[in-house]
Amino acid sequence: MKLQKMLSSTAAAALLAGSVATATAQERDMRQFEGTTLDLLYAEISFIPGLKQLLPEFEELTGITVNIETQSEGAARQKAQVESATGSGAFDIVGIQSGNLPLYAQNGWLVPVENYFGTELSDAKTLDLDDFIPSTLDSMSFDDTQYCLPFFAATVILYYQIDKFKEAGITEPPKTFEELLEVAAKVQSEGTPAIALRGSPPSTAGNIWIYNLFLYGEGGKIFADFPDDMNPVLNSPEAEKALETFVTLKRDFAPEGSVNFVFDDVVTAMQQGNVVMAIEGAPLAGRILDPAQSKVAGNLGFAVVPGGPAGPKPSFAGHGLCIAAASDNPEAAYMFLEWATSAENMVKISQNSTYLATPRNSVWENEAFKDKYNFDYGGGSFLEAYQKSLDAAPADYYPPFAAWGLVSDRMGLAVQSAEIGQSTPAEALAAAEADIKEILEDEGYIK
């Protein structure tokens, strides 16, 4: 099913790329929307600050003014959803995480970017669809329609302090969950907990972003057979084992209060050397190793996250820029999107900020990019760990359907409930399964 979908979208992309090549023989009129103003709304994730710095270039090129409004991840998502639902037209361009795309697509809140592929607004060389890592392009499409252009390929890796590992006599990073628990017990010391992991549940960027890698690694599933049989199967031995591992790590080996950790807290803990290990977003390496703030620069190792019987299953999400259906200037918005996500700009942004989560192959190959981000302090190469993780990450890590937010929130509560000892992992999962079944019945996904 998944393979079929990926093949078809790749084929569609190839076809489009072909047609684009012929269509853009004539020169584009870059200044046809001169004087237009575009508003963009998204979270302050890396890429956006770097993009802001480049705006004067776009303005000079096209005469279009772009205002970028950023908020915290949750606030931006809620605002975008509410504005979209009411059709307020408050913004022309919206950033979306792949887990949220089905909601937008299903409600008709977006103008698919593919509507403009091959038109006179598009330039095949700038767009260069073939250059995108296929899974990232796929994460920004729904029902075989390309809705958005990806700018961010998110996955997680295992970060660890090389010297602490050496002191504990550990020669290589843990490959399985059992090894992870063993290593945690060995490296933990008074005042320095072994590992930092997210704990706060709300939204798709919370503890489920991490818990699912244990769940999938154990061979567990959320649904009986997504998307054909949407009955939840969280009350399984695999899910329970995964939650037990997660809870043990959080209760015995994580910093005090980490049940409320969001990604910022994990980044800070790792950056300041307050923990020995962290499983956190690879795109955050730039911040963790930021020379101005980091206490672990030069001492950090990188590895693919440990796995279970099903192997390692690193988290995966794409982030993309999309055109709001309520925009008055969708064409100008498209021109901006194509420009913003071009390989040339991604290289520039990788240099002017800590942005490295590029979905473009050519940027990965770029010398300046490699120079800046190929961290290797003797504990494995960062870019290699990142690329391997992207390869191993399941494309549908977040099952693509509109009610995922509801399901992941309920799962997040269950994980937290087990973590604080309010219920056992088995009880928490059984309760979550029952509630999720009800939610999916309410929303019409199961009869």
């Binding site: 909601l103 005090e256 209060g257 307050n274 509109a402 929303e443």
Partner: protein, 309 residues
């Protein structure tokens, strides 16, 4: 006394004669206020009521339907909703009790006009200047172990501090602490200003009768404060919902939903999950409960004010 009873019938007769003319005069001036209330309160309320009777949810694959009272029926089986009601009650009434006690004590201290301690009055009301969101951030910093807040100082004196924000009960206590800190000044000021109006002859008389300081508070100050206390309680319950930003910042309703109040649950359901119909039924039910609690006491307050005036 006889003067007053004689004047009453005369006033009434005068009123009757002038009523017709007055009506035409003042009604016109009420219009802007009525329009404002209708547009800003009644219309949205009716709209919300309408939404609460539908299944509108943007993550549903079925379109919205009219489902009558189904959302309301669902509420009774929704453990998260029931828990949120209990947590709302805790987070409204627990801080309220402490606000009343501390507010009264601080007002007493201010009222004593101790020489050289005028600056204390300023210190007492400082928390009032903090917007709730800043209050929440401040206390979050103090309660978060990694940020070296309260537990750091407890550690210095050999006490291992509790898991403030990561244990369900402690999280409720932590938010209550922030709320007590933030809104006690309001209670203090209300009590203090009321105390300023108390006739001093009552205190003098009680002193001559040999009442101690404690007895004067018990038999003079407290009975006189009853009216103000009632107003404060009504205000604080109404404003109890203002605790929302503090929850948002300090715990986001966690851990595991243990600090989720009903308005927070409605907010999450509406804006995060986009289950608009269900969220409307949550907030309207909560509103109905609040009105049921507040209506009698509000009437009492208004009646007393009317009698005084």
């Amino acid at each position: 006394m006889t003067d007053a009873t004689a004047a009453a019938p005369l006033d009434r007769a005068l009123l009757r004669r002038t009523r017709g003319r007055q009506n035409r005069g003042y009604r016109r001036f009420l219009l802007p206020a009525i329009v404002t209330i209708v547009v800003l309160t009644i219309v949205p309320l009716i709209f919300t009521l309408g939404l609460s009777l539908t299944s509108l949810s943007y993550s549903s694959i079925r379109g919205p339907r009219f489902i009558g009272l189904e959302n309301y029926a669902d509420l009774f089986g929704d453990a998260r909703f029931i828990a949120s009601l209990w947590q709302s009650a805790v987070l409204i009434f627990v801080p309220l009790i402490f606000q009343l006690v501390f507010g009264f004590m601080l007002a007493l201290v201010m009222n004593e006009r101790l020489p050289g301690l005028g600056w204390l009055r300023v210190i007492f009301i400082i928390p009032m200047f903090f917007p709730p969101i800043v209050m929440g951030l401040l206390w979050k910093v103090l309660f978060t172990p990694q940020l070296g807040g309260i537990n750091h100082y407890l550690g210095l004196i050999g006490i291992s501090g509790p898991a403030w924000l990561s244990d369900p009960t402690m999280a409720l206590i932590s938010i209550s602490v922030a709320a007590v800190w933030g809104w006690t000044p309001f209670v203090t000021i209300m009590f203090y200003t009321a105390m300023q109006t108390f006739p001093s002859d009552l205190y003098e008389a009680s002193r001559i009768d040999g009442a101690t300081w404690v007895q004067r508070i018990r038999f003079v100050t407290l009975p006189l404060l009853r009216q103000t206390a009632l107003v404060v309680i009504v205000f604080r319950i109404m404003e109890g919902l203002a605790i929302f930003p503090i929850i948002y910042v300090m715990t986001s309703g966690g851990p595991a939903g243990s600090t989720e109040t009903t308005n927070y649950y409605a907010y999450i359901t509406g804006f995060e999950f986009l289950k608009v119909g269900y969220a409307s039924s949550i907030i309207l039910t909560f509103l109905a409960i609040l009105v049921a609690i507040l209506a009698p006491s509000t009437r009492l307050v208004l009646k007393n004010v009317g009698e005084r005036g």
